[in-house]
Amino acid sequence: MTDLIASGAESSEFNVLAVPIGELIIGTVAFLIVFFVLGKLLLPKISKALEDREQAIEGGLKKAEEAEAESARLAAQNQDEIAKAREEAAGIRAAAQAERADIIEKARSEAQAAAAAVTASAQAQIEQEKNKAGSDLQRNVGAIATDLAGRIVGEVLTDNATAQGVVDRFISELEAASGSNGKA
């Protein structure tokens, strides 16, 4: 071979643009095998996988959107509920306040009524006592006067001082009597 190169015989024989039919067929068949294996068996799988993934991603996005809408809806609902609860609480508070005012008012009026009753009964008793005292006095005033006169006569009117003493004692006795009477 080496001597051929040196002489240049082989290179002159060799045609760079030669198309040997055998190798043409080999090249074509090799390509067709690759083409059919890839085209029939492998590429459909991968294009399907790519499509599936695209769909999965799209589905995922859709799901995420739905979840977002759902959570927004729930948040609005919660807000509503909170507002409602607040309103309710305010209502309850107002009612309680009203009730409290009512109770206080009632208690006060009851107390006032009781006080008035106590006052009235006390006054009535006083009136009664007073009347009783008056009638007692009226009933006894004659006997007392007779008693007093008897004593004055009995003591002999020697001087004014003695008479004055008798009168004073009498009055103090009366007072003591009326005091014991009042207690009773």
Binding site: I26, L42, I46, L50
Partner: protein
Amino acid sequence: MADVVDVVGSGGFDCHLMSGCGFPAPGTEIFEFAPLVEFSLFGITFGINKPVILIILVSAFIIFIFTVAFAKPRLVPGKWQSMGELSYLFVRDQISRETIGKAGDKYMAFLFSLFFFVFFLNFMGIFPGAQFAPTALFVYPVALAMMVWLVYMFIGMRNQGPLKFFTNMMFPPGVPKAVLVILAPIEFLSNVLVRPFTLAVRLMANMFAGHLLITVFIVATIYLFSPSVIGMLGSVASGIMTLIMTGFEFMIEALQAYIFTLLTASYIAGSLSNEH
């Protein structure tokens, strides 16, 4: 058959600068591979040589990695599936939908296979151990371009009608009659004959040139490796250039696979719409 080793070996590994040995420039012989096995079927000779073996290995590899990536797709992809999906989405969004639109999804299997078939075959050009892109041999780009041609011609005739496809192609609306006389044959030639030819040649020429260039720099690295200042400088520079060119080749390989597929997609797009 000739490998880099053979080229360098033609002058022997002793062939260096200043040793009275001329630079053993690599020629087209580095694109010739002797068959390891040869057999005949229906009068056609099939020679199993290095490029054929590479094609078989690359085909098996493509099927293997995409089986690993796509056989059991999960909703949450693993490492391999992620990479597979990334490559699928690249072809779909950057090539198919970019040129054809959503209608291109129907041709994804063809475009995807085409892209990775061409890409991995090209990549063999810098793959350690392989060091040769089968696409640098005209026959393989021709095989692919023929298939592309069949596909876009078929799609065109099916979508626009067998005759309408050609009249739409040759007589674009709004062109003066006088111009049509020139335009019609040009359009026919460019769409029906030139397209597959340029498609094949573009790919083959890029891979061919890349392989030749890298070989030249490797041979130069070895040839210039000699006990002299100029020789050593040249050898090191060539070695560095080999590395740079290898990186550059990778870019070209990916780019050519992309261009091949993109043009295929644009031809399909042209066949789908009656406007052109």
